[in-house]
């Protein structure tokens, strides 16, 4: 056996973290001088991927149940008056979640890099594009690796910045630069909440390090000594996730962000950036109270449901995928909210792969259809692009939750979780929403496939020019589609809990909030209560304890949830075939019959319009009314007093000129004058200097002679 120690893993992680930023700097500064510099960035990212594979292997083989922390003190001011101890540590945390996430980020980033070589060819800012991908990968790695909230926030903002750069990459297009701004501003709204949450934690616990904070919470230290404020802090932190993971009501930026290059959408709007929000919630899961989790579940359910209904009627291939992304992220948030921690993270990983595949597949279609994105103008591409079609189909099966795919495993787990939650608490609406959205998902995904790949081509000219993508574009599709098959996660395609992923690697952490603030089913039953472990160290992680009734409920939920979700997926797929493939029903007629609903969905529930009317127009209106107030009331008063004041103004004018201006000018000239005086001493004559020295010596002597 190799002598394995933790420092190797830490060093590997640091290499993975910093390689992309080296690529970024080199590619950015040499972008204009060296034409082929993008190859360096690609090389660096492949290297990072290899390292992440090694890290994943080593961590899961040798340190499967151990968290590795490496930190150093960044700032240490010792004891500060009025505040207490002020020191800030920076560091990285390697647990199973972070290495798996790191692997997923590195893999998808590498595939997107390779895909982009062909997709972006001929762009005038080709090298800069790769540089931006580099800085994005760096920031994302930072989020995954950090062990404290300060670094989390720094990298969080860096992700925001790099996504701004990438969404607005074609900034000559107004829609692209608008979308970039929208994404940035909407994210900022969420980040304000997150920042206040972090400040709450820091003022309460005097540290940014998450482990230490969680330990203190488990010891009963709460913000303002109340569980209510712990809930508030948790929800403030969750605001950051709402923004970044495009959850309701801040989801509006994600569909617009599709203005960026399609590989970018695959990287940041499917697999990584938007996943950061969910990842962040898994990190702080242990400090969320039952109330906070319930709010999170509500937001998650809404975010799963609303975009799914919108996706039904969209005609832009990327927009459909964007709404489906929000919907799937809603699933993950919902799963976290109902306490199904492991399945949320599981879905995060499986979704990353198949959604990246779908986006890259759509990129392949768009690229070969000469930037046509409207699915009503496509059709029949199945024969022209067999590889794209097959991989797209596999991923669609996965997202719809068809057995033998990874998506089936994770989604079924989430649905079982909501089912068990309903059983344990009586809130069945979450389960109902979950199952209904599963059907919608299957429907709109197959609508997309049928309109794009099946049937007759609608635009004969473009169809004739379409062809299969080159190897660098096809290869990533194949890799990602293969990863959407169950075998990578579990040997039993119907029970994920038997697989290594859930039985060995991913464990929900023990909740550290006080027991009476948790969900009832997250407390140990009286029978399970054991003597508190006295030797419990600060860093040792314990597994979550569920009550027995909940464990039982989850057990019972497994079979009915699976059957129900299968039924939902099947009916969704069947419906879309009936509508679009076999044309048994006419979708237009149906749309005509439920016109209000159709319009609501087609216009995206009028979110943009409402926000425009309320917030944008509100701001404008407020400033207009303020302007009116200024112009009429204030000016009126001013005018009235003007005459009155005129008399005094002459007097005060004199006062101004002589006293006030005099004072101001005097201060300015005084500074100069002092300088001038000092300069006067500098005569250049050395005999004067010597005299001055003797003179000042005497003065000093007289000044201090009293002692």
């Amino acid at each position: 056996m190799i002598n394995m120690n933790e420092s190797i893993l830490i060093n590997l992680a640091l290499v993975i973290l910093f390689l992309p930023v080296i690529g970024f700097i080199v590619a950015l500064f040499l972008a204009k001088k060296v034409k082929k510099i993008f190859l360096f960035e690609n090389f660096v990212i492949i290297l990072a991927f290899i390292c992440s594979v090694a890290l994943l292997y080593l961590k899961l083989t040798y340190f499967q149940s151990k968290d590795i922390v490496s930190e150093f003190q960044w700032i240490d001011f010792g004891n500060v008056p009025l505040f207490g101890k002020l020191s800030v540590e920076l560091g990285i945390l390697l647990d199973n979640i972070s290495v798996i996430m790191l692997f997923a980020v590195a893999l998808i980033s590498m595939l997107v890099h390779l895909f982009s070589i062909e997709y972006m060819s001929g762009d005038k800012r080709y090298n800069r594009y790769f540089a931006y991908l580099g800085i994005f990968t760096f920031s994302m790695n930072g989020i995954v690796l950090t062990h404290n909230f300060l670094m989390m926030y720094i990298f969080w903002e860096l992700v925001g910045l790099s996504s701004y750069l990438l969404i607005g990459f074609w900034y000559e297009k107004k829609s692209a630069s608008d979308a970039a701004k929208k994404a940035f501003i909407v994210n900022r709204i969420g980040d304000i909440g997150m920042f206040s949450g972090i400040l709450m934690l820091f003022t309460t616990y005097h540290t940014f390090t998450s482990d230490k904070i969680f330990y203190q919470i488990s010891q009963g230290a709460l913000p303002f000594n109340s569980e209510f404020w712990l809930t508030v802090t948790g929800l403030l932190l969750f605001c950051g996730a709402i923004g970044k993971s495009a959850q309701f009501p801040l989801h509006v930026w994600l569909p617009d962000a599709m203005e960026g290059p399609t590989p970018v959408s695959a990287l940041i709007h499917a697999a990584t950036m938007v996943a950061a929000g969910v990842f962040f919630i898994t990190r702080i899961f242990t400090m969320l109270t039952g109330d906070a989790l319930f709010v999170i579940a509500v937001i998650g359910a809404l975010s799963a449901f609303i975009p799914a209904t919108i996706a039904l009627t969209q005609n832009d291939i990327k927009k459909v995928l964007a709404y489906s992304t929000i919907s799937q992220l809603g699933y993950m948030i919902l799963a976290l909210g109902v306490g199904a921690y492991t399945f949320a993270f599981f879905h995060l990983i499986t979704h990353a792969f198949f959604k990246a595949c779908l986006f890259l597949g759509s990129g392949s279609v768009i690229h070969n259809m000469h930037h046509e994105q409207d699915i009503t103008k496509m059709g029949g591409l199945r024969k022209k692009m067999p590889v794209t079609y097959t991989t797209f189909l596999i991923s669609s099966l996965a997202i719809s939750g068809v057995p033998l795919t990874s998506g089936f495993l994770s989604k079924d787990g989430i649905l079982a979780g909501t089912y068990a939650f309903g059983y344990a608490t009586g809130h069945w609406l979450f389960a109902a929403a979950g199952f209904f959205v599963a059907m919608l998902t299957a429907f709109y995904m197959f609508r997309l496939i049928i309109l794009t790949f099946h049937g007759q081509p609608k635009d004969q000219h473009k169809f004739e020019h379409a062809h299969e993508s080159k190897f660098v574009m096809a290869m990533p599709l194949v890799v990602l589609a293969v990863l959407s098959i169950f075998i990578f996660y579990t040997p039993n395609p119907f029970n994920p809990e038997q697989g290594w992923f859930l039985s060995k690697w991913i464990k929900a952490p023990q909740i550290s909030v006080p027991e009476n603030a948790r969900y009832s089913f997250m407390k140990p039953d009286a029978a399970q209560k054991t003597e508190p472990d006295v030797n419990k160290s600060e860093t040792a992680k314990q597994e979550i304890v569920y009550s027995e009734t909940y464990t039982e409920a989850l057990h019972h939920a497994h079979i009915p949830a699976m059957l129900l979700s299968l039924l939902m997926a099947a009916s969704g797929i069947l419906l879309s075939f009936l509508f679009y493939q076999w044309k048994k029903f006419d979708p237009d007629k149906l749309a005509e019959r439920v016109k209000p609903l159709y319009k609501l969905s087609y216009n995206k529930w009028y979110f943009d319009e409402i926000y425009d009317a309320v917030f944008v127009a509100g701001t404008v209106g407020l400033s207009k009314s303020l302007a009116w107030f200024d112009n009429t009331i204030i000016d009126g008063i001013v005018n009235f007093t003007a005459d009155f004041t005129r008399i005094f103004s002459k007097l005060s004018g004199k006062f101004d000129n002589i006293v006030v201006d005099g004072l101001v000018n005097f201060m300015a000239y005084l500074s100069g004058f002092i300088g001038l005086i000092f300069r006067k001493f500098q005569t250049g004559k050395v005999q004067t200097y010597v005299v001055l020295v003797i003179f000042s010596l005497v003065i000093l002597l007289f000044l201090f002679k009293t002692f």
């Binding site: 100069g672 300088g675 300069r679 500098q682 200097y689 010597v690 020295v693 010596l697 002597l701 002692f707």
Partner: protein, 495 residues
């Protein structure tokens, strides 16, 4: 006696290198370009022995009653390292200094005199005896008089040297006078012995005060604090820019090390539980230093407002910095000394860097006048941005290391409840912002009178420049290494 030799290994090495340089120059007269490298190698060897001294803490050459001429301790070792480091940098600057071209046949003297200065400074930072203090100050001064007027080709150069000699002569005369009075009062020249003797009540206090201030005059001349600073602008402007840079950093560092050791060893009775020093009730050094430091920084900053010559501007700015640094002594605590050590580490890098760029620009455009800097930010972007970083750091704005240096000084002041002094220092920083930014305004916002062709530095100089810029940014963000180094250098022998 001989068993103390291992404590002065760095001094021995410096002397050997000095001799080597002279010999080498005599034998290979046509190879002056090898001299700087010989010097750098010599300094590398020296630095090895200096680092060794961090683990020592004792007298060297102790006489019969166990009080020695000089001491070897981590505090001295830190300043020696600082001196070696700035010497290396200045020698590397000298390779490409065009001012020295006119004296190419005398370069052997140039480098051997630099080593003379180094030797003097090494003794200054570890001297514990008034005789050795005087000798080392003289050794440093004599070498620097010659170097200040080294090129001899311009009037102002020779003038600078002559003024320096006269002024320095008077100062060291005053200092020697003070030393003789102290000897008359106590019958000894050893600082540790003086310390125990002056605690006796029968010492004539007025006389001792007089002697103390006279000795301070000599040291004040070296560190150019007001009112003993008059030579500084003239000499800094006239001397070759490399020597100016060297005087403003290394010689000042040695002077401060000497001052701190002199005050702490001679006049401190004990250190209380909070780390503050209890001064022997003879001279109110605290008020004295407050007065001196406030006058110094105010004068330096306000006079700098009017300067149009970069070297002169930096000369006044270095006077102001001497004022800031003295604030660390005002506190009269170990925390203050910590702040001084941090400040010097940062100040050495940023001040040398600023002078380096002034030299590179002067090499190209042949001028140090501010008016000729107009538009330079665009014609030489690398130098422009680097100078901007150095000046911002000198002002003390984040995220540069200069901010950290000032931060620790102000923390020390606030901890000692001297808010008033801290506010005056802060206002001074505001004034300094004006003249530092004025340089940037000239470089970036003003239109140049004539077209300036684009230029940049040579590759080795760029490498050196990056080596100076990088720590300014790096330590501005991650400053624990500097603080830890300073904490390990705090130990002064006897405390």
């Amino acid at each position: 006696m001989t068993n103390s030799l291992y404590l002065v290994k760095p001094e021995i090495v410096v002397t050997i290198v000095l001799v080597c340089i002279i010999t080498f120059n005599l034998i290979f007269k046509d190879k002056p370009q090898a001299l700087p490298w010989l010097s750098v190698i010599g300094l590398m060897i020296t630095s090895y022995f200096v680092v060794e001294q961090f683990s020592y803490n004792s007298f060297a050459f102790a006489s019969t009653d166990y009080k020695g001429l000089l001491v070897t301790d981590p505090f001295g070792a830190f300043f020696k390292i600082l001196i070696v480091l700035s010497s290396v940098i200045v020698i590397l600057f000298s390779i490409s200094n065009k001012e020295l071209d006119s004296a190419a046949d005398r370069l052997g003297e140039y480098y051997s005199l630099i080593f003379g200065m180094i030797l003097g400074m090494f003794f200054m930072v570890s001297a514990a005896d008034l005789i050795l203090i005087y000798l080392s100050v003289e050794l440093l001064s004599l070498s620097s008089y010659v170097l200040a007027g080294f090129t001899k080709n311009t009037l102002r150069n020779s003038e600078a040297s002559l003024k320096y000699v006269i002024y320095g002569g008077v100062s060291s005369g005053i200092m020697l006078f003070g030393i003789s009075i102290v000897y008359g009062l106590t019958g000894t020249t050893n600082l540790y012995e003086i310390n125990s003797l002056i605690q006796a009540p029968q010492i004539n206090q007025i006389t001792l005060l007089f002697a103390g201030i006279l000795i301070f005059t000599g040291i004040g001349f070296k560190i150019s604090v007001a009112p003993f600073h008059f030579w500084t602008p003239d000499v800094y402007e006239g001397a070759p820019v490399t020597i100016t840079a060297y005087l403003s950093v290394a010689s000042k560092a040695a002077g401060f090390a000497l001052l701190i050791r002199f005050i702490k060893v001679t006049f401190i009775k004990s250190i209380n539980a909070e780390g503050y020093w209890q001064v022997i009730n003879v001279i109110d050094w605290k008020s004295f230093f407050i007065l001196i430091s406030i006058i110094t920084m105010t004068l330096g900053n306000f006079a700098a407002l009017w300067q149009n010559n970069m070297k002169r501007l930096l000369a006044y700015s270095s006077i102001a910095h001497a004022g800031y640094i003295m604030l660390g002594l005002v506190v009269m605590s170990n925390e203050g000394i910590l702040a001084i050590i941090i400040y010097f580490t940062v100040y050495a890098i940023m001040n040398l860097g600023a002078f380096f760029i002034v030299m590179l620009i002067a090499n190209k455009i042949g001028s140090e006048e501010l008016d000729d800097y107009k538009g330079l930010g665009y014609s030489t972007p690398v130098l422009g941005i680097s100078l901007a970083i150095f000046l911002i750091s000198l002002t003390g704005l984040p995220p540069t290391a200069g901010f950290i240096a000032k931060l620790y000084l102000f923390i020390a002041l606030v901890d000692a409840k001297m808010i008033g002094v801290a506010i005056i220092a802060l206002l001074n920083t505001v004034v300094s912002l004006y003249y530092y930014i004025r340089v940037l305004k000239n470089m970036y916002l003003d239109k140049p009178g004539k077209e300036i062709p684009k230029f940049s530095a040579s590759i080795p100089n760029l490498v050196l420049l990056i080596a100076l810029v990088a720590p300014i940014i790096f330590f501005g963000i991650y400053f624990s290494p500097v603080v830890n180094l300073a904490k390990s250098s705090l130990t002064l022998f006897g405390f």
